[in-house]
């Protein structure tokens, strides 16, 4: 399977080192380190409250960890904000959906094209050549994504009116529209039925395979994780308790304990 990949797994593209995050007295993350290789699908798993989403929020700059660093393409990032990370080429989806609810599906995806839009509001207001040209390109790209995700029939619907599963798809589309080399997907399959999950898996694999995007994925469904990811990092109580390929992680006693809820002593 690995041999057939168009984009071979390469060097570490993203590294987190000794990240610690506390909210008041609560330790959400303690001294977590792991890396993500280029073009791989990297899963972060763990029970509820293990700090998975917090981890993504630290990488993305929504939370500021008290300690530790994030290294992107070999360069240690000094200041991390969602905006800077977007510019560096890290896009994401959110656990509880963060769509623009009163905008259409296509408009949501078009917002993802923001960093590929250089014209100022004056150029847009006056419809100067650069603005119309960019708009044309952005629309074409967004239509492509709509087609790719098989949501053509709802592209003009207001997002807030869509069922959950479709909204998750739109969010993936918006992240895709940025053409970022790294996608952070926070539980892209949460709350989906089996069929929708299978669809989503197919898209994630396709994105990785055809577009070569590096994917960092948080997921609860162990079956899904084991099937599609290249390497898995397991968190429990804000600590890394396992980091390896799916088969080894699955057999790890500590991981099994964490999931089955063995008493911590």
């Amino acid at each position: 399977m690995v041999d057939k990949r168009k984009f071979k797994i390469g060097e570490p593209i993203l590294e987190v080192k000794n990240i610690s995050l506390t909210f008041g007295g609560v330790k959400a993350i303690t001294n977590i380190s792991f890396n993500v290789l280029e073009h791989e699908i990297r899963a972060i798993i763990g029970p509820n409250g293990a700090g998975k989403s917090s981890m993504l929020n630290c990488i993305n700059g929504i939370y500021k960890p008290q300690e530790g660093k994030v290294i992107f393409k070999g360069e240690e990032l000094k200041s991390i904000t969602p905006n800077i990370m977007a510019q560096k080429g890290i896009s994401r989806t959110f656990q509880n959906l963060a769509l623009f609810k009163r905008m259409s599906v296509l408009d949501n995806i078009l917002v993802g094209r923001k960093l590929h839009t250089k014209s100022s509001f004056l150029e847009v207001a006056l419809q100067l050549p650069r603005a119309t040209r960019e708009e044309k390109v952005n629309r074409a790209k967004s239509e492509e994504i709509v087609k790719f995700l098989e949501i053509e029939n709802i592209k003009n619907t207001e997002v807030g009116k869509l069922p959950y599963g479709l909204q998750k798809k739109v969010e993936l589309g918006r992240a895709l529209a940025t053409e970022a080399p790294i996608l952070l997907l926070d539980e892209p399959m949460a709350g989906m039925n089996v069929e929708e999950k299978r669809d989503m898996c197919r898209f994630v694999l396709k994105i990785n395979d055809e577009l070569g995007a590096t994917i960092v994925l948080i997921e609860h469904d162990m079956g899904v994780v084991m099937d599609i990811s290249d390497r898995v990092v397991v968190l429990d109580y804000g600590k890394v308790i396992g980091d390896d390929i799916p088969d080894i992680v699955r057999a790890d006693q500590k991981v099994i304990d964490a999931y089955l809820g063995v008493a911590h002593d």
Partner: protein, 344 residues
């Protein structure tokens, strides 16, 4: 070559042509009375511009702001002083410059939006209302040391053509409204408008997509103030003509403009027109109806009180049944009459 109307649908162009014919051919030929121009059409169009600005900052960008009258005051007095102090200043040039001055103030008074939001932001933006009007009133320089405390604005001449009659001023204001509306539609439908709405609907996601909150919010505030500044200048030059800052640009005007945006429909361009018409004209209509129907039967003061009650009741009813305002109501009605095949 690319087609000129690439991004407009056929319906847009039909609407546009119908409105142009109505505004520049039908109205000038049908309406002869000066009263209609000076007391109804001109203030309606002027306040429409302000409501458009309010709609951009509040409806599109989701930043509650209440200080339109302050920026209108800034625009009006900037225009007055530019015309007064610079020789041979063309009116349109002064108009645009006063819009820019108001926009600068808009950026300053929009700064709180980076820290606070919602109803608290609204309170903070009230600063513009009080501060600007106070400065203009306090320092005589702005009013050219007129001892009466009021300012009489100059008459408008453009390229030697006098715009003194209600009819001419109407044409001028209408032409400016057309230009502004086209620009606003272009922005609202393009990438600029999408950034505004992204910030409105989910700011953290917008930021993660590369939308800069600082820039987008301040841009909306600046455009709002720019439009309010132009609206203020036109409002004083073509409608009020003689102005006392505290009386003309009081907080009730700011509220009125905010209501225009809300009742017309937040996040719509047409809503500004409908909202301004409703808030401005409906009391006039009610008054006429009340006086004609019940004249002599009921005391005049009671009639005017009832008018207020009916007006308030209508606003409440509308907000309950169609919180998205008249623009949405109009869409719903239109879609009912549309043949089924086109609805999808």
């Amino acid at each position: 070559m690319k087609p000129v109307f690439m991004r407009y649908t056929k319906n847009d162009i039909i609407n546009f042509i119908v409105l142009l014919v109505l505004g520049f051919l039908v109205i000038p030929n049908v309406i002869k009375s000066d009263y209609w121009y000076t007391s109804i059409l001109i203030p309606w169009l002027c306040l429409t511009i302000a409501a458009l600005g309010q709609n951009i900052v509040m409806g599109y960008t989701g930043q509650l702001s209440l200080g339109a009258a302050g920026f209108m005051c800034a625009g009006a007095y900037a225009c007055y002083n530019l015309m007064l102090r610079i020789q041979d200043m063309p009116f349109l040039g002064a108009l645009i410059l006063s819009g820019l001055i108001a926009a600068g103030l808009g950026i300053i008074f929009g700064l709180p939006s980076l820290r606070i939001r919602g109803i608290y932001l609204m309170v903070a933006t009230l600063a513009s209302q009080f501060f600007i009007v106070w400065v203009v009133d306090k320092f005589g320089w702005f009013k050219n040391y007129d001892l009466s405390g009021a300012t009489t604005f100059q008459k408008i001449d453009i390229n030697g053509i006098p715009f003194h009659s209600g009819y001419m001023m109407y044409l001028l204001v209408a032409a400016i409204v057309v230009v502004i509306t086209i620009l606003a539609i272009n922005m609202a439908r393009g990438s600029t408008g999408r950034n505004w709405m992204a910030v409105r609907d989910m700011d953290i996601a917008a930021e993660s997509m590369g939308v800069t909150l600082l820039k987008t919010k301040l841009q909306a505030f600046a455009i709002n103030a720019f439009l309010c500044g132009i609206a203020g200048a036109l409002y004083t030059y073509t409608y009020l003509k003689t102005v006392e800052p505290f009386a003309a640009f009081n907080i009730s005007l700011s509220f009125k403009i905010m209501f225009m945006a809300i009742i017309g429909g937040l996040g719509t361009i047409s809503g500004a027109f409908i909202g301004a018409a409703f808030i401005l004209l409906f009391p006039v209509v009610l008054n006429a109806v009340g006086n004609n129907l019940f004249h002599g039967m009921i005391d005049a003061t009671i009639i005017s009180s009832i008018e207020q009650i009916v007006f308030g009741g209508l606003i409440i009813t509308l907000m309950i049944f169609e919180p998205l305002g008249f623009a949405k109501l109009w869409e719903t009605i239109k879609s009912k009459f549309r043949p089924k095949s086109q609805t999808s």
